[in-house]
C-alpha cells in the first residue's frame, strides 16, 4: 500500500504556446497568467486569457491586452462554468492552456475531454501550491487543499494516507486508510505538499 515512485503521478510542462494551434485559450486560477507567449505562434492565431480575480466587482467582460483578449472571473467555479459553454461551440484547432494548482488544471482537462479534446490539444502547467485534492477510496468523499501526508477524511473521518496514485478523471489523489491493518497505528503527520 505504501509504495512511492508511482508513475501515474502527473508531470507538468512549462507554459508555452503550441505553434500548431489555430487559436489559443489560456485559463488560470490566479490573476496574473503568463504574458510571455514564447516564440510567436502563427501570426493571426487569436489568443485569449481567462483568469480568476477574486473580487466581487469582477464581471467576465473582455478587454484588449496587447495581442490578447483578457477576461476576469469571480471564482474558479465561475470560470469553469463559462468554459463549459465556450467549448460547446469551439472548433478543431483550438489549444487550451491551464495554469494553476493541480485540482484546477485537471478540472480544466476534464472539461476539455468532455468536448472531445485529447492529449496534444490541452496543456497543463502547475503553478502555485502543491496542495492536493484527496479522494477517499472507502467513502468516496473529497478532501480539498491537503498539505500533509496523512489527512482526516472530510467524509468518514478515517486517517487517510495520501498516495501518489492520481486519477485524472477524478482530478484527485487516492487516500487510503493508513491504520487499516493495525487500528490506531498512525505514523507521524508531516507537511508534505506545501
Amino acid at each position: 500500500m505504501l509504495v512511492s515512485g508511482i508513475v501515474s503521478r502527473p508531470k507538468y510542462e512549462p507554459f508555452a504556446l503550441d505553434p500548431s494551434g489555430r487559436s489559443h485559450l489560456i485559463v488560470a486560477d490566479h490573476p496574473a497568467p503568463p504574458g510571455d507567449f514564447g516564440p510567436t505562434p502563427a501570426s493571426n492565431a487569436p489568443i485569449e486569457i481567462w483568469c480568476v480575480c477574486t473580487n466581487p466587482r469582477t464581471t467576465a467582460e473582455a478587454s484588449q491586452n496587447g495581442r490578447a483578449v483578457s477576461r476576469s472571473f469571480r471564482s474558479t467555479a465561475h470560470l469553469l462554468d463559462q468554459l463549459d459553454k465556450r467549448l460547446a461551440r469551439e472548433l478543431v484547432g483550438l489549444r487550451i492552456y491551464a495554469v494553476g494548482i493541480e485540482s484546477f488544471v485537471w478540472d480544466v482537462a476534464r472539461l476539455a475531454r468532455k468536448f472531445g479534446m485529447e492529449k496534444g490539444e490541452y496543456r497543463l502547467t502547475h503553478k502555485g501550491s502543491e496542495r492536493r485534492r484527496v479522494y477517499c477510496i472507502h467513502c468516496r468523499a473529497y478532501t480539498e487543499d491537503v498539505t500533509t501526508n496523512i489527512v482526516s477524511c472530510s467524509g468518514c473521518g478515517a486517517s487517510l494516507l495520501v498516495r501518489d496514485h492520481y486519477s485524472r478523471r477524478l482530478a484527485a489523489f487516492m487516500g487510503v486508510q493508513v491504520d487499516a491493518e493495525v487500528p490506531g497505528d498512525v505514523p507521524a503527520i508531516e507537511e508534505a505538499f506545501p
Binding site: M1, L2, V3, G5, I6, V7, S8, R9, E118, K119, Y135, I137, H138, R140, A158, R163, D164, H165, Y166, S167, R168, R169, L170, M174, V176, Q177, A180, E181, V182, P183
Partner: protein, 351 residues
C-alpha cells in the same frame, strides 16, 4: 468430466472455500522456475498447457456458482464495482457475445445459446437463468450487456478502448481484485493504470506489453499469469474494503499459516473485440492455500524457493511483509534443495 459445483462455498466470514483434489492438481501454478521476476510473459491463449485451466477461452470450474453468488453480494453492497464509460457500448455487446458463444461451445451441458437473427435466447443452467433478448437492444436485458454477462462469469473483466496509440481502461467488472480500484482507475491509460507496480516500469515491461497489445488481432487471444498472496480465501481484496481485510494480515501464526495464507493466481486473458476494436481483459482469480499446494511435492519446494528469494520491492508491493517469513519457515522443512523440473506442471497425477 462433469463439473460438481459447490454452491455453498463462501469467500467471507466463515470462509468455507476449499479446492477438491482435482481442483488442486489443475491449479494454474505460476512459477516455472525457482525465482520470480516480472517479464512480458505473454503467450497465445490456445487450448492446452500445463493445466486444464487453459483449455477454454473462459475456464469454468467447481467454484463457478459460489463465485457468481459472491459477485452478487459485492455488487449489492457497492454497485460502482461495475462501471462502463458511455462510449463502450459496442464493446459491451462484443463481450456478451464472446462469453456466451464460448460458454455454449465449451460447456454445452451447462449453457446454451440459440440465435435467430438478432433474437437470442440464453440459458445458464448452473445459475438457473433463462433470458431472451434482442442483440443490440439495451432495453431487452435486465442489466447492461457487460454487467449481465460478467455477473455470470468467474473473474474480473476490464474493457480497454484503443486510441492515440494507447489503451484506456474505460470499463470493468471488478469484484475479485488484488487491491486496485476500478472506480479510481477507470479512464486511465495503460501506464497510469499500472502506475503503482514497482520495478516493471524501469524494466520496460509495460512499454513492450503495450506495443504488443496495440497489435492484438481478433481471433488470436493471448494470456499471461500474475500472482500475489491473500490471507483467507477472500476474493474481494479491494482498496475500498482494505479496512475489512487489512487486519487479516496480522492473524497469521506458525500454527495457522498453511491454512490461512493463500496463493492468489490471476490468469489474465486478452481478446481483441471485433465490432468495437476494444480489448477485453479477463483477470481470473484462483486461490489455493499453502496447505493445499504443499500436497504437490514440486510445488511446495518451488514455492519455498520463490518466496525465500523474492526481491524486497515485490514483497512490499504484494503486501507480503507481515507474513512472508512465516510461509517460508513453514515450507523450508519440505525443501531438500533437489533440482526441480522446468515449467509449472505438478509432475504428479494423484495426490
Amino acid at each position: 468430466m462433469t463439473l460438481a459445483f459447490k454452491p455453498a462455498e463462501t469467500f467471507r466470514k466463515d470462509f468455507t472455500y476449499r479446492n477438491s483434489e482435482a481442483g488442486i492438481l489443475r491449479f494454474p501454478f505460476p512459477f516455472a522456475e525457482d525465482t520470480y521476476m516480472y517479464s512480458v510473459n505473454i503467450e497465445p491463449h490456445l487450448p492446452g498447457g500445463p493445466s486444464p485451466a487453459y483449455d477454454h477461452a473462459f475456464d469454468v470450474d467447481e467454484h463457478y456458482v459460489a463465485e457468481c453468488k459472491e459477485r452478487a453480494i459485492v455488487l449489492a453492497e457497492d454497485p460502482n464495482r461495475c462501471k462502463v464509460l458511455p462510449h463502450m457500448t459496442e464493446a459491451q455487446w462484443d463481450t456478451l457475445e464472446l462469453i456466451m458463444e464460448s460458454f455454449a461451445k465449451d460447456y454445452p451441458e451447462h449453457f446454451s445459446l440459440q440465435k435467430n437473427g438478432t433474437r437470442w435466447s440464453w440459458e445458464n443452467r448452473p445459475l438457473g437463468l433463462k433470458d431472451s433478448f434482442t442483440f443490440g437492444d439495451l432495453s431487452s436485458l435486465p442489466y447492461e450487456p457487460f454487467e449481465y454477462i460478467t455477473r455470470q462469469a468467474q473473474g474480473d473483466f476490464t474493457l480497454q478502448d484503443q486510441r492515440d496509440n494507447n489503451l484506456f481502461v474505460d470499463g470493468g467488472m471488478v469484484t475479485t481484485q488484488a487491491d486496485w480500484s476500478l472506480e479510481f482507475d477507470i479512464g486511465m491509460t495503460f501506464h497510469e493504470w499500472h502506475g503503482p507496480v514497482p520495478l516493471a516500469h524501469q524494466l520496460g515491461v509495460f512499454d513492450r506489453a503495450l506495443k504488443f497489445l496495440l497489435r492484438l488481432q481478433y481471433g488470436q487471444p493471448v494470456r499471461r499469469l500474475n500472482w500475489t498472496m491473500t490471507i483467507n480465501p477472500r476474493l474481494d481484496t479491494s482498496p475500498e474494503n482494505y479496512p475489512v481485510w487489512g487486519p487479516d494480515r496480522n492473524t497469521v501464526t506458525p500454527e495457522n499459516v498453511a491454512q490461512k495464507v493463500h496463493l492468489r493466481v490471476e490468469l489474465q486473458t486478452l481478446f481483441r473485440l471485433p465490432r468495437s476494436n476494444a480489448i477485453l481483459f479477463g483477470i481470473r482469480c484462483y486461490l489455493a492455500s499453502v496447505a493445499e499446494l504443499a500436497r504437490v511435492e514440486k510445488w511446495r519446494k518451488r514455492l519455498h524457493r520463490v518466496l525465500r528469494d523474492l526481491p524486497p520491492e515485490l514483497e512490499d508491493y504484494k503486501g507480503l511483509t507481515r507474513y512472508r517469513k512465516l510461509v517460508v519457515d513453514y515450507l523450508a522443512p519440505f525443501d531438500d534443495g533437489a533440482p526441480l523440473s522446468r515449467g509449472p506442471q505438478p509432475d504428479q497425477t494423484i495426490l
